[in-house]
């Protein structure tokens, strides 16, 4: 139960050496602490978590699902799930933002892969061919976004497309391989190499 002590020493960051990611840079430890308070039923802390993470959560869910009403519904589910399961958050496995946004992305993906949703989405995403432009469209005058943009720009075309199709498009690596016309072995490598380059690029501030 020591993890609910607000005076806990800062949690060791990931062994991969990435000590900072956009938006998390100044606040990741605070978020960890907030989430521990949420675990103890602190609704004010939950409000703060909402204010910090509802935008990226809604943003990524909407990017994957496209339908605003469905996205809103899933965002609500995800944030209530965060409230309900905050007691199970383990900072040793990653930061609070990563924990929450992983739940958000997975929930969106689950929705997409549910058979019923798949057919419907097929039509809505018929015109979905330009992941890079989408990312560009989403850019605001924020340093975080600029950094992500710049780092995405440093990737090869295939790396960038495979990452954005998988993450924002919600496709499996097999589907990405089919879309880009490359082998499965190649797509696995491109995704991994691309993410490692992103990690190194984002890690350098």
């Amino acid at each position: 139960m020591s993890r609910v002590d607000p005076t806990d020493p800062p949690v060791e960051q990931s062994a991969a050496g990435l000590s900072s990611v956009p938006s998390a840079e100044s606040g990741e430890l605070d978020l960890d602490r907030l989430l521990r308070r949420v675990a103890r039923g602190d609704q004010r802390a939950f409000e703060q978590v909402y204010d910090r993470l509802s935008r990226p959560a809604y943003g990524v869910i909407r990017r994957v699902l496209r339908d605003p009403a469905q996205s809103e519904e899933v965002t609500q589910e995800v944030l209530l799930e965060v409230w309900r399961t905050a007691t199970r958050f383990d900072p040793a496995l990653g930061g609070a933002a990563t924990w929450v946004l992983t739940i958000a992305h997975r929930r969106a993906i689950d929705r997409v892969r549910a058979a019923a949703a798949a057919a419907e989405r097929e039509q809505k995403s018929a015109d979905y061919h330009a992941p890079r432009d989408e990312v560009v469209d989403a850019v605001e005058a924020s340093l975080d976004r600029e950094r992500v943009q710049r780092c995405l720009g440093g990737l090869t075309e295939v790396q960038r497309e495979s990452i954005t199709l998988a993450y924002y498009g919600g496709y499996t690596y097999r589907q990405v391989a089919a879309l880009l016309g490359v082998t499965l072995a190649a797509i696995k490598t491109r995704i991994r190499d691309g993410l490692i380059r992103m990690r190194d690029c984002l890690g350098v501030s």
């Binding site: 935008r55 690596y173 993410l195």
Partner: protein, 272 residues
């Protein structure tokens, strides 16, 4: 052999990227990779780093949710009871990494793979399985291992122990028992194949039987065998192994017994 090698090879490691993007094919592949992560601390560290890239991608996609959502979520939270913390499993997770992370996996991984493969092959050969059947047996054995996730790390530790030994013996009722043990860890892992199915809720019970018959603790229960699937029982982990112990196996009434009530169908001397 090829499949077992692949299981630990680059092939799986390279999926760290797709996993961090939630882009694996289905739940089965995800489970398989998650299991791999528990054994491969280097992969787990890499995934943690790549997940942070996913987090950055999510932040880059930030969009303002409808204003009413905030009220609905906060009102919802006020009405929803939170899960209790996972006290026991949390403690377990906390305890394991301390020694788990000290194990030099880069050195041990190939050996562990070899040991696992050797055990599977020895089991297959002893069982007299036809060559063509071996691959299927290996898959079954692997599936069996996969089912015991809670004790998996402890079992893996026995398999990876520097002093790991293995012994196999037939039971008088038919079927075979395979034991993998580490004297240093004082633990053993028991699996069986082809034991006759029991009726009336009766169970197979394992016993550790010491050499000194004058001691009250000469016979200790080492647990019940789980129900067999496809003729194989998933591995049972037992602790408290003492030098000179034999492994006994008896048929007992439902729920097991404190001391054996029937004649053992197996009395297997264990290597020291």
């Amino acid at each position: 052999m090829l499949r077992i090698t692949n299981l630990f090879a680059h092939d799986l490691h390279i999926l760290t990227g797709a996993y961090a993007l939630d882009a694996l094919e289905d739940a089965a592949e995800q489970d398989r990779f998650a299991r791999h992560l528990r054994r491969c601390s280097a992969c787990a560290a890499e995934v943690r780093g790549l997940r942070e890239v996913s987090t950055a991608l999510a932040f880059a996609a930030s969009a303002e949710p409808p204003r009413e959502l905030r009220d609905r979520v906060l009102a919802g939270a006020a009405r929803i009871r939170q899960l209790p913390p996972e006290v026991s499993s949390h403690a377990k997770r906390r305890r394991l990494p301390a020694w788990w992370s000290r194990i030099p996996w880069t050195i041990w991984m190939p050996r562990l793979a070899t040991v696992t493969a050797v055990i599977a092959v020895v089991a297959a050969v002893v069982l007299g399985v036809a060559q063509s059947d071996t691959e299927q047996r290996l898959n079954q054995a692997r599936a069996q291992f996969g089912q015991v996730q809670a004790r998996e790390q402890a079992i893996a530790a026995v398999l990876a122990a520097p002093d790991v030994r293995s012994v196999t013996g037939p039971t008088s009722a038919g079927g075979t028992t395979t034991v993998v043990l580490s004297a240093a860890l004082r633990q053993l892992v028991v699996s069986t194949s082809g034991l006759p199915a029991l009726t009336d809720g009766k169970v197979y019970q394992l016993w550790l039987i010491g050499p000194d018959v004058t001691k009250a603790t000469v016979i200790r229960s080492a647990g019940l065998l789980p129900l067999a699937a496809l003729g194989l029982t998933s591995p049972v982990l037992a602790s408290g192994l003492v030098a000179g112990d034999k492994l006994g196996l008896t048929v007992e009434p439902a729920g097991g017994s404190k001391q054996p009530t029937t004649t053992p169908i197996l009395l297997l001397p264990l290597p020291a």
